[in-house]
Point group: C2
């Protein structure tokens, strides 16, 4: 169907007309990767760090976000003099394949995005976007790194789904990764996490504005389903302690509640109001089909699966230096999973350190102010830079 | 609006035309309470045990369920020779106020259920059903107990929301409760649990068949929203270990997935299939407005709130014998919350024992086969019966 889409935001990007052969067997072409960089690539091209974003993150790592106007999601970590020091390192952050901030994904026009096409007059992929994997995401990132003429990355760093990409980078392109820092992540997605993602997807499918995934034809957004998905996910990102500390059982008047003063329902708990806000602000910046595509990629992530379940085998012979970080109150990616990764790397005789940060902030701790974590990142990068003999 | 409702199941019940003055200030009349009993009330009327059901349970405790055809939800615990021994005790289980299995609730006709009315020709309460509390539920149960001529209950037992009712029974009618066994429960609903309930409610509101809560006018059911709510709740009832043991990352063909053999999405994880089944079977037996009413009652439960947060005060001077049970892998009602209850009862100089059962089955452990738990129930009741001098 011929369809006029809203004018997209212009994101800095690279276009790869030859595309990418995906793990599912589909050849996706062209492929576009949107990215942002911070700092300066050294003459020796040896100071590049990829930061990989999580499920709902994007490439606007350390600057004002063009849609929300908020500071970048890791502004406290990446910048001049900060733990990931842009006076010293060249930092690249790329929107994942399947995303909705400028990289090829379900919202991309199916006919391609090349200069010879009219991208605003063709049908988007929608639900027919091919299924992608974490490895596909990493291989799309490698196209960018190759074009930048970077033969070896100084480091790859990321939390949550970003950490899955870090592991995939180190497993798939071991000679290109000098140092790897997988944070608050796991070498496989657990049954519980798959279950939560499945509820998210069902919430989106249940929305009347979903229209079988062709919501863009109706100029609609499955906003309520997406908000429910986000609200639920948000609970899993926080610890019970963090929720109790932030909100406890405090109540406030519900502006949409019944006027009857006798009604207990006239007030709501603050945690409800917070979640509703989280849900409604999310739908303004995220595409439902991208959410489905990316959660599926997470669910299929299982680094040992191609190696008879032996998690050490993808890392045999690796010379990459690893620093694995977990947070004590993270129940979505608990320390037990990080520890199984550390053990596998030890079995592979890799150079690996493992740090569990004491925190009551839950999974989101990697995005929040945790001085011990900042010191860990700074220390690992400084030590690795010394070994790599970077400026 | 004059409205024909489907013929309701006939549940054994008592009708109280005088009704009940609810905590919200509304006088609800008449009130009907549906119940089932097992065993025989002794001549001295001293062997009665109330078993309180959880959020989505009902009075069909130890017999085939009239809607689902499945065994009662605690058939393994209640019966002749079982831990709650119906050869010895008279067991009563009542559908909670606000429920949908015969007690007065949102599906009840607003005009009343008395013999002078035509219950199938009047409008149901729906969303205008007054908000109820756990204490209201208990006071409705007391109407039944009074009519049965029982002055003192030998015991009140229940898990999860059932445990909240146990605590409310002991706090509100201390002289009527000889022994109390709150299981897998908490003296207040936590911020995390309120948050999960709020997501459930938003999932129901997001369903196109919700129709502002007047779905019965359209002969509709907000089935997808209710299923999403149930799926999410179901994850919280299990532990991560239990999900991993039951399903791990095993996959199967998705009967509704794309036919494309290249597609990763052609298969689904077994845990997804299981959750979808849980969701779809639930909507056939539960009313959405009841779900909203009862989750709200749980959220408002905070036993210390009327006592400046001092949880011991509702129990000062109590002579009830308490046995508190928690399960080590229950993260919805964790042992820490049970322990705070035990400490409060100790401060109130109550007779209290506290048992944490080692189990990897999560919150649902109280419904499942846990021999240590069975022994605890049997032992506590036997000891208490000796003290109460029951046959």
């Amino acid at each position: 169907m011929d369809q006029t889409l809203p004018a997209p935001l212009q994101h800095e990007h690279m276009l790869f007309p030859e595309g990418l052969h995906l793990e599912c067997g589909v050849h996706l072409a062209p492929v576009q990767v949107a990215y942002r960089t911070y700092g300066t690539l050294s003459a020796a091209r040896d100071n590049a760090i990829i930061v990989c974003h999580a499920l709902t993150g994007d490439q606007y790592l350390a600057e004002r976000h063009p849609l929300t106007g908020k500071p970048g999601w890791w502004s406290r970590m990446v910048g001049p003099g900060l733990p990931i020091d842009t006076d010293r390192f060249f930092v690249i952050c790329m929107n994942v394949l399947g995303g909705c901030m400028g990289s090829t994904g379900p919202r991309s026009p199916r006919g391609g995005e090349g200069p010879g096409l009219e991208p605003r007059r063709v049908e988007p992929w929608g639900t027919e976007f091919p299924p992608i994997t974490i490895r596909d995401m990493v291989r799309a990132q490698k196209l960018v790194i190759d074009r930048l003429g970077i033969a070896r990355l100084f480091a790859v760093i990321g939390g949550s789904m970003g950490g899955m990409q870090v592991l995939e980078w180190a497993a798939t392109f071991p000679d290109m990764v000098f140092a790897a820092m997988p944070i608050a992540t796991s070498p496989f997605h657990s049954a519980q996490n798959i279950a939560f993602n499945e509820v998210s997807r069902q919430a989106i499918f249940a929305d009347p504005e979903w229209h079988g995934g062709r919501y863009w034809e109706r100029e609609a957004i499955p906003a309520r389903g997406l908000a429910v998905a986000r609200m639920m996910a948000h609970i899993t990102y926080l610890s019970e302690e963090a929720l109790t500390r932030k909100f406890g059982r405090r109540t406030r008047r519900d502006p949409y509640g019944p006027a009857n003063p006798l009604s207990l329902f006239g007030e709501m708990f603050e945690v409800e109001s917070y979640l509703r806000h989280q849900g409604s602000s999310f739908v303004r910046r995220f595409d439902a089909n991208s959410y489905l595509t990316i959660t599926r990629a997470m669910d299929y992530f299982d680094l040992g699966a191609d190696h008879d379940g032996d998690l050490s085998r993808p890392f045999h012979g690796t010379r990459t230096r690893f620093c694995i970080v977990s947070f004590s109150s993270d129940w979505l990616f608990p320390t037990t999973q990080a520890r199984s990764l550390a053990r596998a790397l030890n079995r592979a005789a890799a150079n690996v350190s493992f740090v569990e940060i004491e925190s009551d902030k839950g999974h989101d701790a990697f995005l929040l102010d945790e001085p011990d974590f900042d010191r860990t990142v700074r220390g690992f990068l400084s030590g690795a830079a010394e070994h790599a003999r970077i400026g």
